[in-house]
Symmetry: C2
Subunit: 370 residues, 2 copies
């Protein structure tokens, strides 16, 4: 099933860093890539046209949110998530697992699944591996994720239990899958424990997934711990499948984790920071509400080619924030997403040209760490 549609072509490699193309029914995804998050069938504040102008190649939808509102049945009835939100490019959906564990008001995990209460109205719901796959099949994403449990990273005993459950659930998700126009990715767990991460990577790699995600990172552990886990896992994962680091990251993360062999990233950071008045740049984060920008006629970044920087000054953006105008969120979202997509483009190009190591060192030296 699905071998041809979801071909992953590797074009160039430098150390662990690689560049390639993942083929999906809704288009090619060049890797390494960053995917903006469209939690509720919208990348917050941006039109489809603006996302296309940013050359967005992959967006993420959240299964937990879409299941609760407007409902996956309704979306299926209206032709699936692509048609519902009128996005004709590739879409990745998560499994709902992470949100059940982080957002819902109450949850009870058992070997079969999770019972939880909606954060919207307190109503009771149940996700199982089979249910998660069925919901994602209703949504019709190009890439769907196996249902997993994301545990606290430092509790070893609990991570053993959660990882074991995640492995059983991965097999059940593969079994439950019925559509051949969707790729199902497995998820590696194991907290901050190298031996658990290695065991999880080996188990997930042994199953028939066209791509593999690494979950349970960027959830409270240190950067060093995250990098150590990626080293362990990426040594084991097959070279010929795309590797997706879930919920990451910052510009620094993109550079450092591509260097460790990651191909796909997603994160709410660019749009969330935009709503909190922060601009992401290649030299660090800027709080655009700062009074020192009141008369600053420069763009956010002199070298940025995004719509916002080509059209507006720091003074204007600071005024919009100060006057509580929602256009500030739109303009900063455009800028922040552009920063990450442009960084991904430069990363791909430098790997292609064989100077990624130099690019990465230079980039990280110029960056004020966050």
């Amino acid at each position: 099933m699905d071998t041809l549609d979801f071909r992953f072509e590797l074009n160039a490699q430098e150390g662990k860093a690689r560049t390639g193309v993942f083929h999906t029914p809704h288009g090619e995804i060049p890797t390494p890539i960053f995917a903006p998050v469209g939690t509720q069938a919208t990348v917050k504040s941006l039109t489809k046209k603006q996302l296309k102008e940013l050359d967005t190649r992959l967006i993420l939808g959240n299964t937990y949110h879409l299941y609760l509102r407007p409902g996956d049945d309704l979306i299926a009835e209206l032709g699936g998530l692509h048609k519902f939100m009128n996005w004709d490019g590739p879409i990745l959906t998560d499994s709902g697992g992470f949100q059940v564990f982080s957002l819902s008001d109450m949850r009870q995990v058992d070997e079969d699944g999770v019972t939880f209460k909606s954060h919207i109205d307190g109503s009771t719901h149940r996700f199982t591996p089979e249910r998660s796959v069925a919901i994602q099949e209703n949504l019709g994403s190009d890439i769907m994720m196996a249902f997993d449990e994301c545990a606290e990273p430092y509790d070893r005993e609990y991570n053993i239990q959660a990882m074991t459950r995640t492995h059983h659930w991965a097999e059940r998700c593969l079994e439950a899958k019925t559509r051949d126009d969707q790729a199902l990715f497995g998820i590696v767990q194991g907290g901050v424990f190298p031996d658990l991460r290695a065991a999880s990577a080996e188990f997930i790699a042994s199953l028939d997934f066209p791509g593999i995600a690494i979950g349970g990172l960027s959830v409270g552990e240190t950067k060093d711990e995250m990098h150590a886990m990626l080293k362990v896992v990426n040594e084991i994962l097959p070279e010929d499948k795309p590797r997706y680091l879930m919920g990451v990251g910052t510009p620094q993360d993109l550079v450092e984790c591509v260097r460790l062999g990651i191909d796909i990233f997603d994160c709410v950071l660019p749009t969330r920071l935009a709503r909190h008045n922060a601009a992401m740049t290649d030299t660090g984060r800027m709080n655009m509400m700062n009074a020192r920008f009141a008369r600053d006629e420069r763009p956010i970044s002199d070298t940025c080619t995004c719509y916002t920087c080509q059209n507006h000054t720091r003074a204007y953006i600071r005024h919009l924030i100060s006057a509580r105008e929602m256009l500030s969120g739109t303009l900063l979202s455009i800028h922040n997403i552009h920063t990450l997509l442009e960084l991904a483009r430069k990363i791909r190009q430098s790997i292609q040209e064989g100077n990624f190591a130099q690019f990465a060192n230079h980039y990280l030296e110029n960056l004020n760490r966050e």
Copy 2:
């Protein structure tokens, strides 16, 4: 001063309705025209690019708001309002009078001007005719308005006082004006009293204004009263100057008031309704939150050519509203502004082709009145 730059060419006339072009230093304004309101140097939720794609030909900025935040001095220092917000088309600024009387926390009117408290921080400020002109000269709008007092429409004695003051202030504004790249419009007041309106129209028409506004309407009086006042005033106003009806309106208002001789309109309605989930259409208003739209795959309007209707279903827009996603405000603002701009285009065309009366009758018959 300013005779060439602010030429008003009348191209066609049908009854009192007319179509023409008003020339400004930042471009031609075809009339009749609707101007979206950009209160705080932004038409709420829309980028400049989106406004250009809507073929917006004139926008309005609010002097009261911009004076308070970010300050007209700051805007002047940064090159004026066009440069500050990066809008290269014509801009009209009001005088600040209406907001002082409707928004500020306290106000004391005397013959010389108005003292008021900011709605933002309670600080005390004073506007006089000279100050209003100086602020608008700092903003650098193409069309600025004389400082006026907008009175309660039904209090005859007070309207006599306010109108008399408005007339004195109009003369002082003309006197105070120093720039020749801005047109100053006078404002007719007089509440719902035909004799006062006639006296005001005669006085304002006697002064050297390149265009004339009609103020103090759509502030609580009935549609019939508004129309009666427009008939009185437009009989008196010279044919060769553009007539601007301030703060109006709805699609119905545009058709009915063009029929009475109005050339320019502005209103917050399209963007304000958008933020309250309402779509304006040629057949009436729709509450897009309505549960009956949950599975409705049609666009807001089958015949609408706007970005929103070309790309999104009622079901999707209803979902965005229900999920409190700000994209709903953007998509509805695009649709609502398009509805009014497209209506203005059709009005201009029908006057040009000599079938405006037929167009107006047909339009009003199909409209569910608001």
